[in-house]
């Protein structure tokens, strides 16, 4: 069943708020769009809407955290990661403050709003910041697990979510920890590591590959920083070929991170599925994923290519 990130995020926020009375929520005029109004209705003194001023938003969160509160900044990815990037660096990452940034509307999945609102560089930006942890959730269940895990430790984190509908990958509860990952399928021919909405596409690709006699492992690489190094290394050794898949630029994202890691530990072919040095445009999510080659078919083709390249590196 498909559920919407933007309309269910509030459940994860409400359960976090219940567990942590010192958690507060900040947003920049996106409360209605993300149903944060349900939060302010329940906890009127625990939400701050600073208006359309995102550099102020993240810096205010930094100040709040110094008084012992846990600020959770919620908004659209472009405006809570890319626009205030320097403030995130200076006021949150460098002093290593306990601020959590939860970003919806990441990637081409934004759809009709077009290139200005499609954050395709957020992983690349945030994962270069020391002290920051970077996560992506594949569905609504994982969003809740991510929120719980992020609130449980002291330090900055970024959680990347899609905009609207995501197929349920997980039921009830799932484990989530910095540096963790889920091995969703085990196969010996190739490993597909995906995050966010591309996990569903990766699973579909693995089913298609199976029908052609190719056994693919599928990893839900929800922790982009720190990477699930042990599992990646084990799978590189076992399968000898990798495909990465993400709704993000090819440069600097999950694929980039995995290439960096494997090239220094166990060099194997890695084919990246992602947006190839291009801005997005308006269109439906499905049309955009087809045009920019983010589909299960593209992943399956990349898997076959990676297998053919084995032994060449």
């Amino acid at each position: 069943m498909k559920k919407s990130f933007r309309s269910t995020l509030i459940d994860a926020i409400l359960s976090g708020a219940e567990e942590y009375p010192n958690m507060v929520v900040l947003n920049a005029d996106s409360a209605r769009a993300l149903k944060l109004t349900d939060f302010s209705a329940k906890y009127p003194d625990r939400m701050y809407n600073v208006g359309i001023s995102e550099t102020d938003l993240v810096s205010t969160a930094a100040g709040l955290s110094t008084t012992g509160l846990i600020p959770v900044v919620v908004g659209f990815s472009m405006f809570v990661s890319e626009k205030p990037f320097e403030q995130i660096r200076q006021a949150i990452a460098y002093p290593n403050l306990n601020v959590k940034i939860v970003a919806t509307h990441s990637g081409l999945c934004v759809g009709q709003d077009g290139a200005t609102h499609q954050a395709l560089e957020d992983i690349a930006l945030l994962r270069t910041l020391p002290n920051f942890k970077v996560f992506a959730a594949a569905d609504v269940t994982e969003t809740k697990a991510a929120m719980k895990a992020m609130l449980a430790y002291d330090g900055p984190a970024y959680l990347r979510l899609g905009r609207d509908l995501a197929e349920d990958i997980f039921e009830d509860e799932k484990p989530f920890r910095p540096g963790g990952a889920d091995l969703l399928r085990n196969g010996s021919d190739v490993t597909i590591a995906a995050c966010g909405l591309m996990v569903e596409q990766a699973l579909m690709a693995a089913v298609a590959l199976k029908s052609e006699g190719i056994n693919a492992s599928v990893i839900n690489a929800y922790s982009i920083k720190p990477l699930p190094e042990e599992l990646l290394l084990q799978k590189a050794k076992e399968t000898g070929a990798f495909v990465t898949a993400e709704d993000h630029m090819k440069t600097g994202g999950l694929g980039g991170a995995i290439c960096e890691y494997l090239s220094e530990t166990c060099p194997v072919p890695v084919i990246r599925i992602g947006v190839d040095d291009h801005f997005g445009e308006s269109g439906t999510q499905d049309d955009l994923y087809k045009k920019y080659r983010l589909t299960a078919d593209d992943i399956a083709a990349a898997a076959k290519k990676a297998i053919r390249m084995k032994g060449l590196v």
Binding site: G51, G63, L64, Q87
Partner: protein
Amino acid sequence: MSRNIQELKTTANTIRKDILEMIYNIQSGHLGGSFSEVEILTALYFDEMDYDPVNPGKPDRDRFVLSKGHTAPALYATLANAGFFPKEKLMSSFRRIDSMMQGHPDMKKTPGVEMTSGSLGIGLSTANGMALGLKRQNIDSRVYCMIGDGELNEGQIWEAAATASHYHLDNIAAFIDVNGLQNDAETKKVKDMLDIAAKWRAFGWNVIEINGHNFEEIFEALDTARAYKDGPTAIVAHTIKGKGVSFMENVVAFHGKTPTAMEYENGMNELNSK
């Protein structure tokens, strides 16, 4: 409260000498803007603010955010004189490798520094966050922020100005250090912000204009700010960049220029004679 203005003047002079020595010693750092804010820092740390240098993290302390972070020497010299760390550290640490005193303030390295700063425009937002956090936890402490007049070019300052008045942050007071000079030239030549007091007033702040080197005026402003309960207070402090050493006063170059041996000696003699 009875205030010993003469004693505060002596402390301010000591802080100026420490600043000059620090910057001469390492041949790096920002003199002009450090000198212009010395009386305000002295008034805050040696009279106005409630803090404990032995327990710098006590939750109900007053807080100070140096948004114009390049004037870290003034903050460091003030903190050392206030007892947060030994004064020898000023010379052995400032801007040196593996040290507790970075070129710009680092809250995780220097005791007493409340917020990391250096990139202009951010400090008032972080001060607002502190003020909001204190209010939410019913802690009756105050937050002070020092903003440069050149820094007013930064758009984020005005985002933060609106946030503070929107949330009626009567526990915050921002000093605007109006020394009239910025890195390249006079502030009016680089980008004229026109009537600074009017701007803060228009953003909903209680505005007080003072001579930022006059302790009586500083304290009167602080008393007024503390008593004002309808929102935040901006203290527009007219100052002199390089204040205290005659040949550094109002000289654009002394924003970041370090003194020569001769300038150091003459400057120190001048401060010693006060």
